[in-house]
């Protein structure tokens, strides 16, 4: 006698996948039909907006762009019984809700190097946790701490200090330069305001709908579709969220307007890769004041602006390729004073010396630029053999937008 559970399993196991020919044939026919359909029914030729919005969440999604535009134009499309708000309105309300907080803590996970600039992404990288704590004060900037495994930035209310942990490199600046979290999507007030502005300017990229949450509360979901800032062939393509075609999905509590979830998917030709996800959001919590002070190790190396050298003209005259060659040659000969001329810091970290000292230059390629990088920045392809024997092939980033007017290392090691 065959047990019932076995039969259930047997039925579940029955699979009938299409062979490759069938798959290609049917999908080809479907794509052809879709193309034909697009010609006959271009997007936008839809029935009345009001019927759409009244009927179901999914049609709200499709119509939301038009709704947003209508709200911006102050067209009273909805009555109070259909409280559908534009994406711009929701983001403005969310920004206002953030401004009323006393504190918050956000933990996100991003596919990024663990000690990088909180913004670089890589589709193949592992997820790295990034925490942001903010204590609002009477001061404009408040106090905050931004931290990932290899780097931390603390704003104590007077100025901010960044510590790159493995190298003990430190940068201290007055007040709160937004650059640390400008692209990190953790400073909620800034994020909401920025998205609200974009939703006002480009409503068609924003879609929203409401749904019932697992907690029984109503949620507002906003999907933001964004095109990459750089062309498809650009070196920086998919290396930053804004340099990729991507989709952001925000989820707010409909009543409190507080952010509850955020996921970001990068589109490639073949797939959507989740590169960013909110894993924890806490509002109005007691934060340990110790979070907003940073104890530095005794042997820190400080970042500083490049100084004008006695022979600065020699360096100013260098082409990107010459500068890259000079930099790697100095590493090869372990001439750290020379290396320092390209670094803009008080000394060369021992970790840096151990890694690059005694390298062998195999090839320096032709420099190129990216529309997503500073206008005076260049990428120089290189191939070197490290002392360990490992051959490294990458692109050195050099930029010249500094008071000394000579090339400075900006990444790519």
């Amino acid at each position: 006698m065959k047990p019932e559970r076995d039969i259930e399993e047997l039925v579940r196991d029955l699979r009938h996948p299409a062979d490759a020919e069938t798959h290609d044939r049917i999908l080809g026919n479907l794509l052809s039909t879709l193309r034909q359909h697009k010609k006959q029914s271009p997007v936008g030729q839809q029935p009345t907006l009001r019927r759409f919005v009244m009927r179901s969440p999914i049609t709200k999604l499709a119509a939301a762009a038009l709704v947003a535009l209508a709200v911006v134009l102050s067209v009273p499309l909805f009555t109070k019984s259909t409280p559908t708000a534009s994406a711009a309105e929701i983001f403005y309300q969310a920004a206002q809700a953030v401004n009323k907080l006393t504190s918050f803590h956000i933990r996100v996970e991003m596919r990024t190097p663990p000690g990088d600039n909180f913004a670089t992404i890589g589709l193949d990288y592992d997820f790295v946790p990034i925490d942001f704590w903010k204590q609002f004060t009477d001061d404009e900037w408040g106090q905050w701490r931004l931290e990932e495994p290899g780097r931390v930035v603390v704003m104590d209310g007077r100025g901010s200090t960044m510590l790159i942990k493995p190298s003990h490199v430190v940068e201290s600046v007055d007040r709160s330069p937004e650059r640390y979290w400008r692209e990190s999507l953790v400073e909620l007030g800034s994020v909401m305001t920025r998205e609200a502005k974009k939703a006002t300017e480009h409503p068609a990229d924003f879609s929203s709908y409401r749904e019932q949450g697992e907690d029984g509360r109503e949620k507002v979901v906003i999907a933001v579709e964004a095109q990459a800032r750089v062309p498809e062939t650009d070196y920086l393509r998919n290396k930053y969220i804004d340099d990729s075609d991507h989709l952001k999905i925000y989820r707010f509590d409909a009543e409190t307007k507080m952010l509850e979830d955020l996921q970001i998917y990068v589109h490639t030709d073949s797939e959507e890769v989740l590169v960013f996800r909110l894993v924890q959001a806490e509002y109005n919590i007691d934060l340990d004041p110790g979070l907003f002070s940073l104890e530095l190790p005794p042997d820190v190396i400080r970042l500083k602006a490049l100084e004008i050298l006695p022979d600065n003209e020699t360096y100013e005259a260098m082409t990107p390729k010459e500068a890259a060659t000079a930099f790697f040659t100095a590493c090869a000969t372990e001439d750290w004073d020379e290396v320092l001329k390209f670094l803009g810091q008080t000394e060369v970290a021992q970790r840096f010396k151990d890694y690059l000292g005694g390298l062998e230059i195999i090839e320096i390629g032709e420099p190129f630029q990216s529309s997503g990088y500073v206008s005076q920045g260049w990428f120089i392809p290189y191939k070197i053999r490290l002392k360990s024997g490992h051959v490294k092939e990458h692109n050195l980033a050099l930029r010249k937008d500094n008071p000394a007017g000579r090339f400075q290392l900006d990444g790519g090691i």
Binding site: V11, D19, I26, N29, V43, Q46, P47, A62
Partner: protein, 183 residues
């Protein structure tokens, strides 16, 4: 695939996204083809049903409203279309699954594969013997993961009746398989 992804893909498809169509098709092709194949007992017709369902889906996408899961919706379409085929072909049903060799198995050793292959062939034969509504209930619940509430809605009966059809279907399958094993 989550409801949110479904909704987003449908939204993209409404905007004419070929990528969204590919993702939806690739996601559900095997499940729907398996369902159609076992509802109809014929691979060629199952492929036609699959294509018909997606063509209709594309043609009606402008006014389409997703009220539940996309998988559930597409499964409903497959069931309805398969019923049309069965009505037309009633009395002319082919031998079950003439392309049994194309069926994917999940077993590693040759012996396991052989045993599983034989079991599956017997199961496919037994499935064809079930009344249509019992076969639908069994396949929709076990292969598509649909709840009895949804199956009931699809069949226009109460949830209890859908559940009963599923139980009767399983009992009948067990009886058929055990009967075959004893002969």
């Amino acid at each position: 695939m989550t409801m949110l992804e479904d909704r987003y893909l449908v939204w993209q498809l409404k905007r004419g996204s070929e990528r969204a169509l590919c993702r939806i098709y690739n996601q559900y092709e095997t499940d729907l083809l398996t369902l159609a194949t076992h509802l109809l007992g014929r691979t060629d017709q199952a492929q036609d049903v699959l294509q018909d369902v997606f063509l209709k889906f594309i043609e009606s996408i402008d006014s389409f409203e997703l009220k539940g899961s996309l998988k559930g919706y597409l499964a409903t379409c497959v069931v309805n279309r398969a019923r049309d085929y069965l009505r037309r072909a009633r009395g002319h049903r082919a031998e079950p699954l003439e392309t049994a060799q194309a069926v994917e198995t999940r077993h590693s050793s040759p012996l396991q594969e052989a045993i599983a292959g034989e079991q599956q062939q017997r199961l496919r034969t037994a499935l064809v013997e079930l009344p249509d509504e019992q076969r639908e209930a069994v396949l929709l619940h076990l292969q598509m993961g649909l709840k009895f509430r949804d199956i009931a809605h699809m069949q226009g009966v109460s949830g209890k009746t859908a559940w009963s059809r599923y139980r009767y279907g399983l009992d009948r399958l067990r009886s058929l398989l055990n009967g075959q094993a004893e002969t």
